[in-house]
């Protein structure tokens, strides 16, 4: 078992310790212990508990998605059949993609950490519509159950992209899974709406738009995309279900339909959806880099505006998924240029993060280690995105492992790094306990290494010409596939370590005190873990910018 760095806090309930140096509020129990029945959790309208329930769910689905990922990687160890037949493989990568995208990555940061932190960062007691928030969780669960029911009863083999006319002709069970995705869409929209209204109406006195923490800006931009784009995929999934069950013929050329129309509608959602996944990650990283280098964000406004910029142009770049789909050369040009703009907005962020470290005071802790991995994945993943956006280069790369590697780098790499950074950074905030720093750093190193070892060979595989979604492959591709599988094993091992020491810390971790990082993020102004309504006493005010680490003038006395 992982040793805790300090065994002292054994048995102390979080919230009942005063290590933070503040007068404890013993009669205001923290949200974790305020009601301990199952019902008090399942019917809670406390954004923090809802956030935790989302967190538990997305972690569960991450586990399932990860098991399928490993299954896929093991199958690809040898050129021919290895451990499963073709149909099983085709279902495995479909389930992996579907679960990871719809059940893990899209809700992960906004629904779990966004829910938990947003009101705290705004000095609010809760989100604007607490009951809608709870409903959003149950809608998500319902959709997830539907999807899983469909996967168990027949399973589907379309890939997470459901391209027609294959998805309308396959004999596997597409309809319930798509319907599940449709239902989950409502959860996404409800959460997004809730956050938008919360940011507009519930900021504490003093928090102007340009004093919002950058995480809030990122979640805000994400919510806008969710609200605008999700209805498109909602309608599209319904249309495909109709096509599948009642032969509408919208996308089936044998009935006069157009399969390319499906692709346009699909990517009109799914391209912005990529930003639903990475923008929150960018937000987390802005918080983390400021906190651990004790510096104001270098170009605060540039970072904030670029989130909106990405959200905006993200809507106009979808056609870059379709350069070789028979789309006109002219269209390819337009989508190509627009894609370049997304790259520029991301570049602004990257440079400003590095600028934040400049003249900072860096404390290299676990979240910061994830920040380093994140920087690399974002730059390399982002630039390879520009590379595939370069139309002539996309012609050979499209639908090969180069693309698989690219989207894992940017979407998964960046999001995962941020998810883990957020988990480690806010762990003391959420549970009032510390994890073991040494294990944190070791597993971060393993995960970053494993991730590179998994996906760098896949870039090369793509160059070499290996198409994605291949159950068997020509023997010349084997060496790189073995390397990738080895990397995936390392990666999985890293996750196992994280799971062990965090679980241990949850129960036996040393008490963290109120603000172990001495961060100036607003969320740390309340207790750790926070009491049920976030702040005790009069409504807090926020005179300073978030992450303002400048020395106080002589006459001002500050506590940290």
């Amino acid at each position: 078992m992982t040793p805790s760095s300090s065994p002292t806090a054994e048995g102390v309930l979080p919230g009942h310790d005063d290590a933070g140096g503040h007068d404890g509020h013993h009669h205001h129990p923290n949200y974790l212990v305020d009601g301990t029945t199952v019902k008090s959790w399942l019917l809670t309208i406390d954004h923090k508990r809802i956030g935790l329930m989302f967190l538990a769910s997305v972690l569960f689905f991450f586990l399932i998605g990860g098991v399928f990922a490993l299954a896929v990687r093991v199958e690809l160890l040898t050129p021919g059949p290895t451990v499963m037949d073709a149909m099983t493989y085709n279902r495995a990568f479909t389930l992996h993609g579907l679960i990871m995208i719809f059940l893990f990555m899209i809700p992960a940061i906004p629904a779990a950490f966004g829910n938990f932190m947003l009101p705290l960062m705004l000095g609010a007691k809760d989100v604007a519509f607490p009951r809608l928030n709870l409903a959003s969780f149950y809608i998500y669960v319902t959709g997830a159950l539907l999807m899983i029911w469909g996967m168990l009863n027949g399973g589907l083999d379309t890939g997470w992209t459901f391209y027609t006319p294959y998805s309308t002709h396959t004999t596997t069970t597409v309809a319930p899974v798509l319907f599940g995705a449709f239902v989950i869409g409502f959860s996404s929209i409800a959460t997004g709406l809730n956050f938008i209204v919360t940011v507009h109406t519930m900021r504490a006195p003093g928090i102007t738009w340009f004093k919002l923490p950058l995480f809030v800006w990122a979640i805000y931009a994400t919510s806008c995309i969710q609200v605008l784009a999700t209805p498109v995929i909602g309608l599209l999934t319904l249309l495909v279900v109709g096509e599948n069950l009642f032969s509408f013929g919208l996308f089936d050329p044998a009935r006069g339909g157009d399969p390319v129309l499906f692709q346009h509608l699909f990517w009109f959602y799914s391209h912005p959806a990529v930003y639903i996944m990475v923008l929150p990650a960018f937000g987390v990283m802005s918080e983390v880099v400021a906190a651990f280098s004790r510096k104001n964000i270098f170009g605060y406004r540039a970072v904030a505006y670029s989130s909106l910029g990405i959200a905006f142009v993200g809507f106009f770049a979808w056609g870059h998924h379709m350069f070789v789909s028979g789309q006109s050369t002219f269209d390819a040009g337009i989508f190509g240029v627009l894609t370049m703009l997304v790259g520029v907005f991301t570049a602004i962020k990257v440079f400003n993060w590095v600028g934040t470290v400049y003249k900072g005071a860096v404390d290299f802790r676990t979240p910061f280690a994830y920040f380093c991995g994140f920087l690399f994945f974002t730059v390399f993943g982002g630039m390879t995105g520009i590379a595939v956006g370069t139309v002539s280069l996309d012609m050979p790369w499209h639908d090969t492992y180069f693309v698989v590697a690219h989207f894992h780098f940017i979407m998964v790499g960046a999001t995962l790094m941020a998810f883990l950074a957020a988990f480690h950074y806010w762990f003391p905030k959420m549970f009032g306990r510390m994890y073991h720093e040494g294990w944190g750093l070791v597993s971060a190193a393993l995960i970053i290494l494993g991730f590179n070892a998994t996906f760098i060979p896949q870039f090369l595989l793509g160059n070499y010409g290996m198409p994605r979604r291949y159950y068997e492959y020509p023997a010349r591709f084997q060496a790189l596939n073995v390397a990738s599988t080895a990397g995936a094993t390392l990666l999985a091992f890293g996750f196992v370590i994280v799971a062990i020491y965090l679980t241990y810390a949850l129960f036996y971790g040393r008490a963290s005190g109120k603000n172990p990082w001495r961060s100036k993020g607003y969320e740390w102004l309340s207790e750790s873990p926070p009491p049920t309504h976030n702040f005790v006493g009069p409504q807090p005010t926020f005179p300073e910018e978030p992450h303002y680490y400048v020395a106080p003038k002589k006459d001002e006395v500050k506590d940290v």
């Binding site: 002709h169 004790r294 028979g326 370049m340 003249k359 730059v379 639908d399």
Partner: protein
């Protein structure tokens, strides 16, 4: 030099004129990407060490960028990205606009094989013979679901869509055998949907064509001699001629130049057609196919939208056969000379 780069990057051998263009840009883009990631990484690393925390509650200076810095942050990447785009788009336009004198081959994807048909010659499955140093235009369609035709050594790829033709062209630079892969997931045996392109020296290709021709004639004579009912393998255009009659095309279209309910087929191919909405369109394979599948999409001026759709009634090869038949009905004023540059409009 570029051979070493190709080894490091695991690029397959380069066997078409397009491959050369792609690889040059590839080095530029991937090179810049690596330099940039390393640059950002090293700058960050340097800062981590240079600005370590010394005391727990250390305060820091309030540093903000001036406008010039932010301007640099935006403009440097933008310039790079736009240069890549410009080069990439030029090359992409080049590869989607076949030269006039290209040799045509019809390609049809079908779960799980590739079929190839030469307008004047043989049909084949999973092996495509082409001459080296001559532009070849692929007219690609699918019989069932989406597929994508990919030849890594040529660096080309194009989706195969049911009910539509897409096109791409290449000029192979050296004889040899190159793998074709399907890159659009198409079901159970997607990963077995492999084929090969056999590039022959031009003389060998002529020889091969003759061989095939002889085989076909032989087959035909055998069939005639043999009183069995096996129909001879007809040329695509011959098949197309029959189909226009059996499918009812000739009820409304003539082949002698006289307009009827619809425009005549004579001289239609490659003609500039005036459309009802005031635009003009060049009649190519894509347009003819579209007119069969979705007749109302581009109505020629002076005609009513009365033609029924043939969507679902005609198979991919049948469509191709009709197109080939219409192509044979050219009038004298159609140029047969080879051109210097691209002349086809890109599809749609």
């Amino acid at each position: 030099m570029s051979d070493i780069a190709n080894k490091i990057l695991f690029l397959p051998e380069r066997a078409s004129t397009f491959a050369e263009r792609v690889d040059v840009l590839h080095y530029f883009v991937v090179g810049t990407t690596m330099v940039m990631s390393a640059g950002v990484g090293l700058a960050a690393l340097f800062f981590f060490f240079r600005f370590r925390r010394r005391v727990p509650n250390q305060t820091t200076e309030y540093v903000v960028p001036d406008l010039k810095t932010e301007f640099l942050f935006v403009s440097v990447p933008l310039v790079f990205f736009l240069v890549w785009f410009a080069i990439g788009f030029r090359d992409f336009t080049w590869v989607t606009t076949p030269p006039k004198d290209a040799m045509d081959v019809y390609v049809m994807g079908k779960q799980w094989m590739w079929k190839f048909a030469y307008p004047e010659g043989p049909n084949g499955v999973n092996v495509l013979h082409v001459p080296a140093n001559r532009p070849v235009r692929l007219l690609i369609t699918s019989r069932d679901v989406l597929h994508s035709f990919y030849v890594p050594a040529f660096r080309i790829k194009m989706d195969a869509l049911p009910g539509r033709y897409t096109q791409v062209w290449f000029e192979a630079t050296k004889p040899g055998t190159y793998q074709v892969l399907c890159t659009e997931y198409c079901g159970l045996s997607h990963s077995k949907m492999l084929a090969e392109v056999v590039v022959l020296a031009p003389e060998d290709f002529e020889e091969w064509l003759k061989e095939q021709q002889r085989g076909r004639l032989q087959g035909r004579q055998d069939a005639l001699a043999d009183t069995s009912l096996v129909p001879p393998v007809a040329r695509m255009a011959e098949q197309g001629e029959k189909l226009t009659a059996t499918q009812g095309c000739l009820k409304c279209h003539t082949v002698d130049g006289a307009p009827h309910v619809g425009p005549t087929f004579l001289g239609m191919y490659d003609r500039q057609e005036k459309l009802a909405d005031g635009q003009t369109i060049r009649v190519d394979e894509a347009y003819i196919t579209q007119s069969m599948m979705d007749p109302g999409a581009h109505l020629v001026v002076g005609y009513q939208n009365v033609m029924p759709t043939y969507q679902g009634k005609l198979q991919g090869p049948e469509t191709a056969a009709i197109v080939e038949y219409i192509k044979t009905l050219r009038t004298a004023n159609v140029r047969e000379v080879s051109s210097e540059g691209p002349a086809y409009d890109p599809i749609q």
